[in-house]
Amino acid sequence: MHIASGFLSPPVWGTMAAVSGAALAGSLAVAGQRLDERKVPLMGVMGAFVFAAQMVNFPVLPGTSGHLGGGFMLGILLGAPLGIIVMASILVVQSLVFQDGGIEALGANIFCMGVIPCLLGAAIRRLWVRRNVRVLADVVTVVGGVVGVLAGATVVILLLSWSGSLPGSVSLVQALGVMNLVHLFIGIVEGLVSVAVIRFVVTMRREAVFGPLAAAAPQEATP
């Protein structure tokens, strides 16, 4: 779902660069205040894994493939700030080294595949950890994965539309329909893979995933 170079107009990519830049700066500031030393290697390997997983395109509809986004599972496993930092790192490497996604479109791509699904995943993480609500955790994860992908896909089409990169003969509703239909199937795979990965990582590394946040749950007041 990487927006390639040349499809966004300068005002649109400039705005998105500012928005994602602010989100990234905020994430780095928060991460600096509370970063458990067990989280650093987990964050590193999750970044390596999501990069690798994004290379695995799976067939969805005839003539169409999809690949994992990964932001949603990162939001659940790492929280929003670290998730956003990981997704931004992946997208920067993809754009600069592998020509996947335009450099000027980086802000937009970080927003659609990073900020949006990471915030959604982090909201679910918050329910699990701080409120201890774990009803139908797997079902919630699958649905959340789908919603995250569709939300990102919708914003991609809106950005393309505002950039004048949709042909005049195509209505916005029609474009949103085509994009969301394909990404519904991709989103279901995203949700199912997220369940499997989250179960594996939480089983193997529960302290690194939930430890510090659970400990700091009541309040974060320091003397």
Partner: protein, 112 residues
């Protein structure tokens, strides 16, 4: 480094290399959801001046001098995932060091 963290790295790197270096070779080469949508809507031509990185060592997800094939793809998966990990471990070290330098553990140096 603690055994806990070292094992996190070992298992994570093994999984990432297996997925990016081996499994990805069997990936579908059909256009992804966004590319297909743009094709279907006949909006495939960029309308603005964009900026793509020059293909220095990698052409898409293939190491140029190994060519398209198993090893070219494996090299891309390995180098890409390790670049991301290196970047993140470096960032993690950088942001973690800041509070330690701002003030010694005993002295509350923040006057905010």
């Amino acid at each position: 480094m603690s055994a806990y963290n070292r094992n996190t790295l070992i298992v994570g790197v093994a999984v990432a290399l297996a997925v990016g270096g081996i499994v990805s070779y069997f990936a579908s080469d059909k256009p992804d959801g966004l590319e297909k949508t743009q094709e279907d809507l006949a909006a495939a031509e960029p309308a603005h001046k964009g900026l793509d990185a020059p293909p220095v060592a990698f052409e898409q997800y293939t190491l140029k001098w190994l060519g398209e094939g198993f090893w070219g793809n494996a090299a891309a998966g390995a180098v890409g995932s390790m670049l991301v990990m290196g970047l993140l471990l470096g960032l993690g070290r950088l942001v973690r060091r800041k509070p330690a330098q701002a003030g010694a553990p005993e002295s509350p140096a923040d006057a905010t």
